[in-house]
């Protein structure tokens, strides 16, 4: 027994040993393959670092170039090239005539409406947005870009909006010129069953601004992909995004939702038919219905009834508002309404539409606001979205809101963005950088004509790094009697001649006097080239401000360079009796405007005021000789989406208000106030809403009116009213 046991043990030990060797031997190469930390010392050395004297790469193509140039000049070559690239291979270089744009600036002409032609509401909105924009010209000779008055939005032959005989109608246009420099808007093209992207007429060399365009048909840097928007999409203004605050942690009730039609067969049906695999009825809720079209019963499959029942259990709006991610699968066409709906709802779109050229892809970095999935990897989508870090969700979600409000919330914004993209191509070297398009306040408010350098704008200091703030703001500020002044600019807006030189007070900073050409109110905000500092202190002739007050306002402005920072605060309110906006100069607990009679703001707003606002508003201001300050506040708040900043207690800032002067002022005019009410409402209607925002606080010096020795206070004079 003992011996047996011993043998058994010895035997098993031997077996063990053999096994060890065996296993060890077998495992060797496998182990070697799996752990690859120091690859250079292993057998499976990937790429031997060949030490042969190898040929060197010679990139100088001098001989090539010389030979190439021998026969034809590069210009002829280019012409030959470009004439070959037409139609589907059109590019700006080959199908666009830059000369008119360089001659007259970027002007857009809209054909006059033709008799008997019906224009859909959406297309009418597009046309009136162009006509209301600063790009519009009524003279085709001035134009760089032409837009048809023929409705090309809906090119689905089965649609009631479909315009027939477009081909001949277009060919008969006197300025058509094979579509050169024409822009054609389109939302729907093709029809059941194949939904081609053909418009049903020869577009020649025209550019397309088209929704649901595929990367295949999209001619990069020539066409513009626009979003699909509905008939109800507002012309101007538009709703704000739904995000009210950044919730932390950023997860909502649902992780991923979708609710929409399911196409049982045909183009675009695959993805939606497969959604049920991913649906879990808990945090991933993907609902489809077969109920659409007249004869859905005929085609229905085994899952239809179950799906339809599930579909009716959930409310779309509720899901939209309570989900972190929203699935945007392709429909029959590549783009769908879901995209803009999700964007507005701050529900991060998960795009499943292979080959879709996303809206404004030329300028928008969609990876910042969406998750772009691959239809082929549908089953991985839940894992993918779950793996996204909460910080990233937070930023994706904020970016959806920024993009929605900057480029999508109204037809006007979509149209202007389209035009600005084309303008950027024309401007070329002076166009916006990607940073300007993709960060607040967006490309429509950052005009490249002002400067292509981001540091010249008040918005990008933080993104560009701290160095900028200091440099920019103090660049031309020299220590003088008023420590922060570098120059004084007097705008002489009076019909009387200028006073003689010796009558001007002596100052230690340069005083520059400009005589307004037209002597109108708006010339106060003309971007004079003589203004070289970023900060502009705007004053009325009768404003009384002490140097301390100016100094303090300036230091505050340095912290808020994108806002108006100043003294005279005013407020707006909604007058529900008269159903209109009201203006008040009474002392109230809040304010929404700081008048430019005594305020600091960034010089960029001069440029924006003069170049962004339409002439209608500016001429209204000029005729009334009033409201220019209100308009400036509207503009700045529309850009920043923030209120202005009032500094210190001071409210009266004019001699006339203090009753010390008998001179007539425009402020003494009784009509003055009524006009301002009217202005408010005119402005609000142009902006498509009320951009002004109330604030309940003002900024005072830290020791303002504190019961401490006056000697300790830096801004002593401010306390004396």
């Amino acid at each position: 027994m003992q011996a047996k046991k011993r043998y058994l043990i010895v035997l098993s030990a031997g077996a063990c040993l053999a096994l060890l060797f065996c296993l060890g031997g077998v495992r060797l190469p496998a182990a070697g393959r799996r752990s690859r930390h120091d690859r250079s010392r292993r057998s499976d050395q990937p790429w031997p670092h060949y030490s042969d004297p190898l040929h060197r790469f010679q990139p100088w193509d001098r001989e090539d170039t010389e030979e190439f140039n021998l026969h034809t000049s590069p210009r002829q070559k280019k012409e030959a090239n470009t004439s070959a690239y037409r139609g589907r291979r059109c590019r700006m270089d080959s199908c666009f005539d830059f000369s008119a744009c360089h001659r007259n600036g970027f002007k857009v002409y809209v054909y006059p409406p033709q008799k008997g032609e019906k224009i859909s509401e959406s297309y009418q909105n597009i046309l009136s947005s162009i006509e209301g924009s600063r790009f519009y010209t009524a003279d085709p000779g001035q134009a760089c870009l032409f837009v048809l008055s023929l409705d090309t939005l809906d090119r689905d032959q089965l649609s009631p909006q479909y315009v027939h005989n477009l081909k001949t109608k277009v060919q008969n246009l006197p300025l058509w010129n094979d579509g050169r420099n024409h822009l054609i808007f389109n939302l729907y093209s093709g029809t059941w069953p194949d939904y081609t992207e053909d418009l049903g007429f020869d577009i020649g060399q025209a550019m397309l601004a088209k929704a649901s365009i595929s990367a295949d048909n999209f001619r990069p840097n020539f066409d513009v992909s626009i979003p699909l928007f509905s008939k109800e999409h507002p012309r101007t203004g538009g709703e704000r995004g739904f995000l009210k605050y950044n919730s932390i942690p950023p997860f909502r009730k649902y992780m991923l939702v979708f609710k929409g039609k399911r196409y049982l067969t045909g183009i675009g049906s695959d993805t939606r038919n497969a959604l049920y695999h991913v649906h879990n009825a808990e945090d991933v809720v993907l609902l489809t219905t077969c109920k659409h079209g007249k004869d859905w019963q005929k085609h229905k499959d085994a899952r239809c009834d179950k799906d339809n029942a599930e579909y009716d259990k959930y409310d779309y709006k509720e899901m939209l508002h309570n989900s972190t991610f929203c699935l945007v699968p392709r429909g029959r066409r590549l783009g769908s309404f879901r995209f803009l709906e999700a964007l507005q709802a701050a529900c991060v779109p998960v795009v499943l539409s292979n080959g879709w050229e996303l809206p404004f892809s030329e300028i928008i970095d969609w990876n910042r606001a969406t998750v772009i999935g691959d239809e082929r990897l549908l089953l991985q989508i839940p894992t993918t979205v779950r793996s996204i870090h909460p910080d990233k969700i937070l930023s994706l979600r904020q970016q959806t809101q920024f993009l929605w409000e900057a480029y999508f919330s109204s037809v006007e914004k979509i149209v202007l963005t389209t035009l600005e993209i084309i303008q950027d191509r024309v401007l070329e070297h002076g166009s916006r950088s990607s940073l300007m398009w993709n960060s607040h306040p967006g490309g429509l408010f950052a005009l490249p004509q002002y400067s292509a350098y981001q540091g010249d704008f008040p918005f990008y200091y933080a993104t560009l790094g701290e160095g900028h703030t200091g440099n920019d703001l103090q660049r031309s500020i020299k220590p003088v009697s008023l420590p922060f002044f570098s120059q004084i600019l007097v705008l002489w807006n009076c019909d009387k001649p200028l006073p003689a030189k010796q009558r001007w007070p002596a100052t230690s900073v340069p005083v520059i006097v400009i005589e307004g050409e037209n002597k109108v109110m708006s010339s106060r905000f003309v971007p004079y080239e003589t203004i070289v500092t970023d900060a502009v202190l705007s004053l009325d002739e009768d404003t009384v401000l002490s140097t301390t007050e100016v100094d303090f306002a300036f230091t505050v402005w340095q912290s808020f360079p994108e806002r108006i920072v100043g003294y005279p605060a005013r407020s707006h309110f909604w007058d529900s009796n008269k159903e209109r906006w009201g203006y008040t100069s009474k002392w109230t607990n809040d304010y929404s405007m700081v008048l430019t009679g005594a305020a600091f703001f960034h010089r960029y707003y001069h440029h924006l005021y003069t170049n962004y606002l339409p002439t209608t508003l500016k001429s209204m201001v000029d005729q009334l000789a009033n409201c220019e300050d209100i308009l400036m506040n509207f503009l700045v708040s529309a850009v920043t989406k923030l209120p202005p900043i009032k500094v210190t207690q001071k409210k009266q800032y004019k001699e006339t208000m203090m009753g010390q002067s008998s001179r007539a002022s425009r402020w003494a005019d009784p009509d003055h106030f009524a006009q301002r009410q009217t202005c408010m409402n005119k402005f609000a209607s142009w902006f498509g809403g009320m951009p002004l925002i109330h604030s309940q606080m003002r900024l005072d010096p830290v020791l303002f009116k504190d019961q401490v020795s006056i000697l300790r206070k830096k801004y002593r004079d401010i306390e004396r009213l």
Binding site: R36, R56, I248, Y453, F552, M697, P701, L703, K705
Partner: protein, 719 residues
């Protein structure tokens, strides 16, 4: 392995019960097994060391050892590249699949030499040094896999960098011979000099089926957007010449043209510009007296004067990069290396890596037609922008142009970003030079939002055992209209909180959280109980704040939800004598911190403080039981780049009887410790993020001669 493991584990248990004789047996047996184990271990290393020596010989292996493959004349030729190829049509994404690291795997074919039936090689140069460098770099990177079955991307070892040296048809046949070719699916070719005489196609002429092309010199007509990658034409001077980085600023020349093969029409145009603008332009050409060859590549001449190339590029603000026979020019790389702003005149050229790089920040693109207007166009660019472009140009070279490794890995990263777009590198990561990355601020709460008033705020009271004072604070806070919830963080482990019945009756929910350890960081823990975005952190002895002051503070926070909005303001100062930072609690004209003894802030910062605080600051604070508030100020200022906001004149918070300054603040050691904190934190952050401001927030009608009852916040204390 498992068997022996079992045996071994039983062994020691058996031994005590056995006789000595048996024990010896077992010990021998045991040692034999052990020996076996050791031997196995040895074997684990042995073959390895053998292999690694073999490796060394491999390293010295010559390319001539690579197997020679003869291509039959009839061997198949792939189709020409399909212009409609996109990632979703011509790329097999299943090979990449889901991958927790979000990184594609790249396989490189082993080197083979190809020749036709007569033995003439398919390429006149064979493997070039640059392509060898490129493949080595990829094989050393994290992208590499040697397992062909796990690979998502395949890179042939056939060098097609320069089409001039290739036999087109045979190269194509060689590609088709690759074992995994499969119509070129997921194959990546690197080509820098495409096309050849007479028409110089802008993409590689070798038929390649669906293979991806990383090409230098694409035009808009051959570039398949979203599929191909436009890469730079590598300049060998990058490796040969070291140009030190120059500070951005004005240079001796304004515009420099250094290319030698410029068409005479363009050269005439440049000459005309030179005549008009004189010294500002330097127009160089090849030196006629120098013989051809490498030396001539390093010299340029103007009217008999010889200049060193590329050094001379550093002497100009702008450098012209004109198209030649090809659109992509190696000069671009030299120009960037010199920190000179490239002026690119090559119509329809797709700039290198334009999918991710923002060239508007580093270059000026001018249509060829406008060559004559170049001077005026460049003059209109502001100086600061030029400086920025100079810096940016050099950074692009450093990061993406400087070596074949940089070119190769950037290309792979771009493909990687397409396959895992949700994990893609951001615009800032691609485009911001390190100095900007370091100093720029991308606030996580970047959207300008004024949150609605309705959700209110949650007051978080940190307490230890001052129950009486705590109850007073609770009673006071509960009068604030926007208070949504009270959360008491009970930091005393030795004592239980008072019974429920003893707590003051308040109209909002009151929760008590008991902590496991008495740590200061407990105050900033993101408790699930905090359901509002706004958090009011308040000490259990802050009894002076009125309800109006608190409500007003909340209103101010709504206007600045990304900042700390609080009542006790403090300042940091630079102590010139000591050469370090100093903490200041006197009543000064400036504020750079608000203490979290009474401050509103966004709940997000709780997460940041708890999970993302840099270095050992959190532990340091808990160990010293001090400075959690300073740490919070550093954290918020660092991530938002913004100053805190002090609200209302209130400066006394604790007891009415106290004199001007709180008792604690008088304590000298306290002040020293707080100063130490600032210095410690500044060194951990590597910078001083705090911002100094001279303002505080007051209600609009504060101190106004106006009926008190009409004011929203009448009860704003004086001090």
């Amino acid at each position: 392995m498992c068997a022996s493991g079992k045996y071994n584990s039983r062994g020691p248990a058996l031994i005590p019960r056995m006789k000595i004789k048996h024990r010896i047996y077992y010990i021998t047996l045991f040692s034999v097994v052990l020996l076996g184990l050791v031997a196995t271990g040895m074997f684990q290393f042995w073959p390895h060391s053998i292999e690694s020596t073999a490796d060394w010989t491999l390293d010295k292996r010559s390319i001539h050892d690579a197997p020679l493959i003869r291509l039959p004349v009839s061997s198949p030729i792939p189709e020409r590249g399909d212009l409609s190829c996109r990632m979703h049509t011509c790329f097999d994404v299943y090979r990449c699949g889901y991958n927790p690291k979000n990184r594609i795997k790249v396989y490189i074919y082993p080197l083979q030499r190809f020749a036709d039936e007569l033995g003439v090689p398919i390429s006149s140069t064979g493997l070039s040094r640059e392509y060898n460098d490129l493949l080595s770099a990829i094989s050393d990177s994290d992208f590499y896999t040697d397992d062909v079955t796990r690979a998502c991307l395949f890179i042939p070892s056939i060098d097609v960098l320069n089409q001039n040296s290739l036999r087109i048809r045979e190269t194509a046949q060689a590609l088709a011979m690759l074992p995994r070719w499969d119509k070129g699916m997921n194959h990546l070719l690197f080509n820098m000099l495409p096309g050849g005489p007479p028409d110089y196609n802008t993409a590689l002429d070798v038929p390649r089926d669906r293979a991806l092309l990383a090409g230098g010199g694409f035009s808009t007509w051959t570039y398949r957007q979203g599929y191909d990658i436009s890469i730079p034409v590598y300049s060998p001077l990058s490796a040969d010449v070291e140009l030190p980085e120059r500070q951005p600023g004005p240079r001796r020349y304004f515009i420099l043209s250094s290319q030698t093969a410029i068409h005479r029409e363009y050269r005439a145009e440049l000459e005309r510009l030179k005549e008009e603008n004189g010294e500002a332009l330097l127009l160089l050409d090849k030196c006629s007296n120098l013989s051809q060859g490498a030396a001539s590549a390093r010299k340029r001449c103007y009217k008999g004067q010889v200049y060193d190339y590329p050094q001379i590029l550093q002497e100009s603000s702008f450098c012209v990069v004109l198209r030649g026979a090809r659109l992509g020019q190696a000069t671009l790389s030299d120009v960037l290396q010199a920190g000179c702003v490239p002026v690119i005149l090559a119509d329809s050229y797709i700039l290198p890596f334009s999918e991710v790089l923002d060239w508007k920040r580093a270059s000026v693109v001018i249509p060829e037609e406008k060559l004559s207007e170049m001077y005026t166009i460049l003059k209109s660019i502001p100086h600061r922008q030029v400086e920025e472009m100079q810096r940016q140009a050099r950074w692009f070279w450093d990061a993406y142009f400087s070596s074949m490794k940089a070119v190769g890995l950037t290309t792979l990263q771009i493909i990687n970003d397409r396959i895992y777009p949700y994990a893609a590198r951001t615009y800032e990561q691609w485009n911001n030079p390190p100095v900007v990355k370091w100093s720029s601020v991308n606030s996580p709460l970047f959207l300008p939002l004024i949150p609605p008033r309705a959700p209110g705020f949650t007051a978080v009271v940190l307490t230890y055992d001052r129950v009486e004072s705590l109850f007073r604070v609770i009673t006071e806070i509960s009068k604030v209209p926007s208070l949504a919830k009270l959360l008491v963080v009970w930091n005393n482990q030795n004592k239980s909180p008072p019974e429920e019945s003893l707590w003051p009756k308040v109209s909002v929910p009151l929760k008590v959280v008991r902590t496991k350890e008495n740590k200061l960081s407990n105050r900033f823990f993101p408790y699930d109980e905090i359901e509002t975005e706004a958090v009011l952190a308040i000490d259990d002895d802050i009894i002076m704040l009125t309800s109006d002051e608190l409500q007003f503070g909340y209103e101010v926070w709504r206007e600045f939800p990304d900042r700390l909005v609080g009542y006790p303001g403090r300042l940091h100062l630079w102590d010139h004598e000591m050469g370090k930072w100093k903490y200041e609690s006197e009543w000064t004209n400036e504020v750079s911190m608000v203490l979290t003894g009474a401050a509103f802030y966004h709940k997000y910062f709780n997460y940041l403080y708890t999970y993302k605080m840099p270095g050992d600051i959190k532990n340091w604070v808990d160990a010293h039981m001090n400075c959690e508030d300073i740490a919070m100020n550093f954290l918020v200022a660092n991530i938002t780049g913004k100053a805190p906001i002090k609200v209302t004149p209130r400066k006394k918070f604790k007891c009415p009887e106290c004199t001007a300054i709180d008792g604690l603040s008088l304590d000298q050691t306290h002040m020293v410790e707080r100063s130490e904190c600032i210095n410690k934190f500044a060194s951990v952050f590597g910078t001083m993020p705090l911002k100094v401001v001279e303002h505080r927030a007051d209600p609009v009608l504060y101190k106004d001669d106006f009926p008190e009852k009409l004011k929203s916040f009448p009860n704003i204390g004086s001090l």
